[in-house]
Assembly symmetry: C2
Homo-oligomer: 421 residues x 2
Amino acid sequence: MKDDAFEALTVETLPARLSAIPEIATRVGGAPSGWKVREVGDGNLNLVFIVEGAKETVIVKQALPYVRLVGDSWPLPLKRSFFEYHALTRQQARAPGTVPALHYFDETQALIVMEFLSPHIILRRALIEGRQLPKIGRDLGLFMARTLFRGSDLSMKASERKADLALFADNVELCDITENLVFSDPYFEAPMNRHTPGLDGLVKELRADRDLKVAAQRMKHAFATRAETLVHGDLHSGSVMVTDDETKVIDPEFAFYGPMAFDVGMLLANYWMAYFAQRGHEGDESRNAMRAYLLGVVDETWHVFRDEFARLWRTERNGILYQAALYEDQDDGLAAEQALNHVIHDLWTDMLGFAGIEMHRRILGLAHNADFEEIADETLHATCEAAALKFGRHVTVNRNTIQSLAELDALAQALDQRKLS
Amino acid sequence: MKDDAFEALTVETLPARLSAIPEIATRVGGAPSGWKVREVGDGNLNLVFIVEGAKETVIVKQALPYVRLVGDSWPLPLKRSFFEYHALTRQQARAPGTVPALHYFDETQALIVMEFLSPHIILRRALIEGRQLPKIGRDLGLFMARTLFRGSDLSMKASERKADLALFADNVELCDITENLVFSDPYFEAPMNRHTPGLDGLVKELRADRDLKVAAQRMKHAFATRAETLVHGDLHSGSVMVTDDETKVIDPEFAFYGPMAFDVGMLLANYWMAYFAQRGHEGDESRNAMRAYLLGVVDETWHVFRDEFARLWRTERNGILYQAALYEDQDDGLAAEQALNHVIHDLWTDMLGFAGIEMHRRILGLAHNADFEEIADETLHATCEAAALKFGRHVTVNRNTIQSLAELDALAQALDQRKLS
């Protein structure tokens, strides 16, 4: 199959085509005619098949040469599959066990065969249902610290990092999506935008807010130019699969060398949005516990990330930055600790900047979150989103002066009580 | 010649080999046996020939697979010639007339044939001789604003910039030289360092200075990760050729995508060092005028750079950053002006950070400046360098709080009076 021209798989053609790959035929097991194949892609971009054989069930993910949701009027290159595959191999090496096991990759067919995760569900779905996952704060805090630290000049050989940077620099089209849909479109009347009726006044206010518009473009500037590490690039609660015991990160096709705090900000933004969506389930008493849980997850994620980053700084800092040789013979290591504090300060500031933007683009832009979309009452829907918009504005514009998550908890709680105005 | 394996040219072999290239044979003119060939490379890395024919004189620059100054114990890839050639073509397109005209490039032979500049001399030499060049402030301010702005996401198509970023990301070895020799070695007892006797106390103090060591590594972090634009990468007064009427920038083999203010900081640092070297010519009355001239050049360079950058921001901002569509319909353009102020603030801060480091590495590291080296009296030599070291420490550590060049003029003048202590 490898040398053929690209051809999209279907439920019907998949068994014959996949069974021509010996290692996959053996892994799945049994006669291909007996394989159960379902297409389950619920994302916007790709085909996703579950293939159940006599021995094993696997996932087959195939990119299409356009955005699936929109059709061939919006072309999107197949090479995103190449970047997804290479990002997965790097994440697996840097944070073992945090991504699905990879079985096979075919670049021409833009196809990845990987581990079928079961009984995992998408984290966003779990949070909407009010489930309190006990391990996500710790697991994703560690995932981010390890992948982001180990993919940077703090850890990698400079020549290897520069070669990798060049490789991922070709992921232009997916970066372009983020650059436009996340950082720009929400802040003016772009054609693909939409927002909930009832938000017109607030939307108008935000789009006239000079400080916000400048801050958003400052963050875009950082996104486009600061090639600090290999980021996942789309680390929201829809890119995480969970059980109570296990957390797996999927879908890194937006991966590129970008600012370290981008993934952190995007993930925390999605927890904050889940928090503001709780009010949409008014009357359900368990939702108060869910609110406390979500603020706790934000806190745990950040602190696990920060502490693991500091641990790696102290034990694995073998790259060209802040070299131990410069510091170790003096000051009992105080200079290296001072530098670490500066770096963490910047991560914090950037995280806040990116988080607010992510909250805005999910309410003002093209891609909305199910957390809010599934709130049936339109006024309640708008009320929840208004609180998130105001919170997002605050954290992005004031990112340089916000001191602690406790102060953001207080703001979130206050905004969560307000009427739509 | 193109398909042959690399072979270093000599004065003897050059005519026969170069005359095999029809466009060069025609350009130089006359019988190759009559060409006058001189080898004049006084830099550390390459061969440079002047070839004088019947019609035209040209420069032939050829890289060697090692550092010329050291020999083949320090290998350095020939591909630096490829980066030099491509940087020159981009500089020529972005700031026409500021670099030598290019006649021919042979990648395998690591060879560039270009315009012979006459009667130009190296700017550093001119400044040491006490010559006041009237046009350098304006010419180099414009050169930097135009090349740095037009090579960034403020101007280029994102896909073209990312492809170019990937191309130059392979310039690993020359970046590695800067990363080590500029940003790290000066701040600890690295093997290749040397400094003037008499500075031992101050050197020890600086290498124990925690704030300085942290600041230096913060700037290195910026250098290694912030791929903002195609920088020249080695823009000191030895990389500029001048007459009273013309200013040409040469030798961009260190070019890569880095922070916008790197070139600006390095250039201003070399003016400040020229200033502190004036005291080495004590007794020569004309040197007071030279001091005033040099501080004036710093001022003019910065302000021309800043004003031209602002002009390009207002008239050529066609890239993905701070898009006009976001701003133009509101506020009478105030948001775009506010963003410009933020960007210029960062350029200023970064410029100061890089300038101080450049001053340190020229006194504490491997590559020293003729400005200081040619001061015969050892105590005077050390006294001049001590003032530069203290000035460099101040601007790098206090880069976030320095408001104006006037305040730095006052500091420079005060340090210039001090005894060595």
